[in-house]
């Protein structure tokens, strides 16, 4: 017995090394479980607060760019107000085509609310990228909400603390966005498996469809994360391979993730209702 203890004592460093590596491995493997826990992510109060402070300084360097963006967006929205007024005067114009993607959800009743937020931490060059926002539960943000800019889809909220939110970037290998081919509404899924922050791939487009370079991919609106018709990207490569049952499609992501400053969190007002109805069907 004492010999056993002697051996354990002799190799104690190695044993502790193995133990610590196992702990780390467990953390990595169970990543998805821990993602929910706020304390281990950048939305915890201390880390979020530090990122908020640094981004408070940093944001001044982007003011010109941000102002220009807002100006463009304002112009777009003004145009839509004009068009909407025309619609109400002249009923023959089909309403849906005149609305910007951002407000498609509003065509009948207001289905989405948008919470503006500032990006205080962002990464682009890893295989699992995350974004931290400076708003949290106190501002009405909940897990699973969508994030977008006027250019298109940015990501989805992962975990929320009172004042911060950590989110999956679209550039995350586990992200999948329910989407459609704009020209004929064919359903597909956009995934980021390219390791290139400007490109994503589109899965599950059946071979009988015609797909050309330049076609637009938008969100489908089938889940209550994003409104329908939010831009995802434009097709740059479309390839048919005999061995596959689906097209191999690559898109140029419409959002420039390296210049992400202000975003909208899309809050579906009917999410609870829709989810409970759909889960009732399953039973």
């Amino acid at each position: 017995m004492s010999q056993l203890f002697a051996i354990i004592f002799k190799y104690r460093v190695f044993l502790v090394f193995i133990l610590l590596e196992l702990v780390a491995a467990a953390l990595i493997v169970n990543n998805n479980t821990y993602q929910r826990s706020v304390i281990l992510s950048s939305s915890n109060t201390v880390v979020g607060g530090i990122y908020n402070t640094t981004s408070n300084v940093e944001q001044y360097f982007h003011l010109t760019e941000v102002n220009e963006d807002l100006l463009n967006e304002n112009a777009l929205l003004r145009k839509q107000i004009e068009l909407n007024q025309m619609v109400s005067i002249n009923d023959s114009v089909e309403q849906e085509n005149t609305l910007s993607p951002l407000f498609y959800g509003m065509s009948d009743t207001i289905a989405y609310d948008f919470i503006p937020a500032r990006v205080i931490n962002n990464s682009v060059y890893r295989s699992a990228n995350y974004i931290t926002l400076n708003k949290g539960r106190k501002d009405g943000i909940l897990e699973g909400m969508g994030i977008m800019t006027k250019d298109g889809v940015v990501g989805q909220v992962k975990s929320v603390s009172n004042h911060f939110a950590t989110c999956y970037s679209l550039l995350h290998r586990d992200m999948a966005v329910s989407s459609e081919l704009k020209k004929n509404g064919a359903l597909c899924t956009v995934k980021w498996d390219t390791e290139d922050p400007t490109k994503a791939s589109v899965n599950y487009l059946p071979l009988h469809l015609d797909i050309d370079v330049g076609d637009t991919i938008t969100t489908s609106g089938f889940n209550t994360v994003y409104p329908e018709g939010v831009m995802l990207g434009v097709v740059t490569e479309a390839e048919k391979t005999p061995s596959e049952r689906f097209w191999l499609v690559t898109i140029d992501v419409s959002v420039d993730f390296s210049k992400l400053h202000h975003v909208y969190v899309s809050k579906s007002l009917f999410r609870a209702e829709k989810d409970s109805l759909e889960s009732m069907d399953e039973q």
Partner: protein, 176 residues
């Protein structure tokens, strides 16, 4: 180990950590393929006399905190613990004939340029390659991960050497 040394190391821990997450986190080259992690220098340059066990635990803590900032829970932790373990082996190779002065910390000044590189490069290299390989998480990205690890090692090494020349001063004279 005197109390002063521990206080100094605790201060260094915080400095390396904050400089890493606030500054070097934003520094990437070649479309993000090359990143710098000079915070590992804290672990590499712990005093020679630090006990192996405490190095492992300190490495675990450092990796864990960096992981929280990087939203990459577990990845830096695993790499840092691995670094800490290999450090004890590498110290055996580079030990001078009389053994280390246990109260000293590894500096170019103290070890000489060549020995310092032999001491530092394998540790950083192992850490970076482990890091990128775990992060890639997919066999098809492994060659790229190794390349990224090697290139990032050079980038980190440049910064570690710069820190040596800036803060552990007057290297040339001692060596001659």
């Amino acid at each position: 180990m005197g109390r002063e040394i521990w206080l100094k190391q605790a201060g260094l821990f915080l400095i390396y950590l904050f400089v890493q997450v606030l500054f070097f986190r934003n520094l990437t080259f070649f479309d993000g393929n090359v990143m710098v992690f000079p915070y590992v220098a804290f672990l590499v340059l712990l005093p020679f006399g630090a006990m192996n066990m405490s190095i492992l635990l300190v490495a675990f803590c450092m990796g864990f905190v960096v992981d929280i900032f990087y939203d990459s829970i577990g990845i830096h932790t695993a790499s840092c613990v691995f670094l800490a373990f290999t450090r004890t082996q590498i110290m055996k190779w580079t030990a001078p004939t009389g053994g280390y002065e246990l109260s000293e910390i590894p500096t170019i000044n103290q070890m000489g340029f060549g020995t310092f590189l032999v001491f530092v490069i394998p540790q950083i290299l192992l850490h970076h390659i482990t890091l990128f390989m775990i992060e890639a998480g997919n066999m098809s990205f492994m060659p790229k991960a190794i390349l990224r690890g090697v290139l990032s090692t050079f980038a980190t090494l440049v910064i570690v050497l710069a820190i040596q020349y800036l803060f552990y001063g007057n290297v040339g004279r001692r060596r001659l």
